[in-house]
């Protein structure tokens, strides 16, 4: 017997909220980044679960593109973090408030 789609969607929600908690709560910019990856991964899980549910591979192709965008995002984002670290000697997001209105 295959596992119910409901279980996968619930797991996806839990993973997404854990990732969101990481993004909102953590102080270190790299940890925020890792949490964004967790959120993307949770969305991928839901997409693949629904692709399986409908017997249609379009959801899997969406996941393929999400992974592509995640790779691009990580490359640019980590470059930004390294650049910020070079100029400020810190990647603590509490100290990055130059753009505060």
């Amino acid at each position: 017997m295959v596992v119910q789609t409901e279980s996968f969607v619930m797991l996806s929600i839990v993973l997404f909220v854990l990732g969101a908690m990481g993004v909102l709560l953590r102080r270190n910019a790299i940890m925020v980044f890792m949490s964004i990856e967790l959120m993307l991964n949770a969305a991928n899980l839901a997409l693949v679960a629904f692709a399986r549910y409908w017997g249609n591979e379009t959801g899997q192709l969406f996941v393929f593109f999400v992974i592509t965008v995640a790779a691009a995002e990580v490359a640019v984002g980590l470059a930004l973090i390294v650049a910020i670290f070079r100029s400020k000697r810190s990647i603590n997001i509490d100290e990055l408030h130059e753009m505060k209105g």
Binding site: M1, V2, V3, Q4, T5, E6, S7, F8, V9, L11, I13, L15, F16, V17, L18, G19, M21, G22, L25, R26, R27, N28, I30, M31, F33, M34, S35, E37, L38, N41, N44, V48, A51, R52, Y53, W54, G55, N56, E57, Q60, L61, V63, F64, F65, I67, T68, V69, A70, A71, A72, V74, A75, V76, L78, A79, L80, V82, A83, F85, R86
Partner: protein, 174 residues
Amino acid sequence: MLEITPNTIAFLVFALLSVGGALGVVVSTNLIHGALFLIVSLFGGAGLFVLLAAPFMAAVQILVYIGAIAILIIFAVMLTRSMTSLSEIFNRQWWISAIVAVVMLGLLLVGAILPVWGPSGTNAMLPVSDAVGTTVDLGIALVDGNQFVLPFEVASLLLTAAMIGAIVIARDNE
């Protein structure tokens, strides 16, 4: 709710890996440990993809997420010399953030689970068909003019742009 079958046991194991890894990322005080927990979580996700009859996605997950993205993150941890144990792991607005996260969990559960799978829902939980897309189908869809050839080309352009952008941003301009 769940019957004990090999599939459900595998689901529980991989779900435990994903959730445990995610929890580890959120609460770990050491950045290298956080990155390793991220790898555990992503590996659990790859196992779940196999359970969902998407072996190609599982392979891509391991190759791209674990092989490239996680390693890149570990490189960034080392470059920023921030792997020492952090005394304070949460930022200043942590209590607002915690409330937001709990509300988000509630909204998602109410909004996504109840209408479809709640007491008044359709109660359709198992896949509607046994048709499973193979890797050949995926490959054809990516180069088929009527399907995903344009997004595929745009994705390659995006990756090139991201690579050039990363080099330009991270370069030492002396």
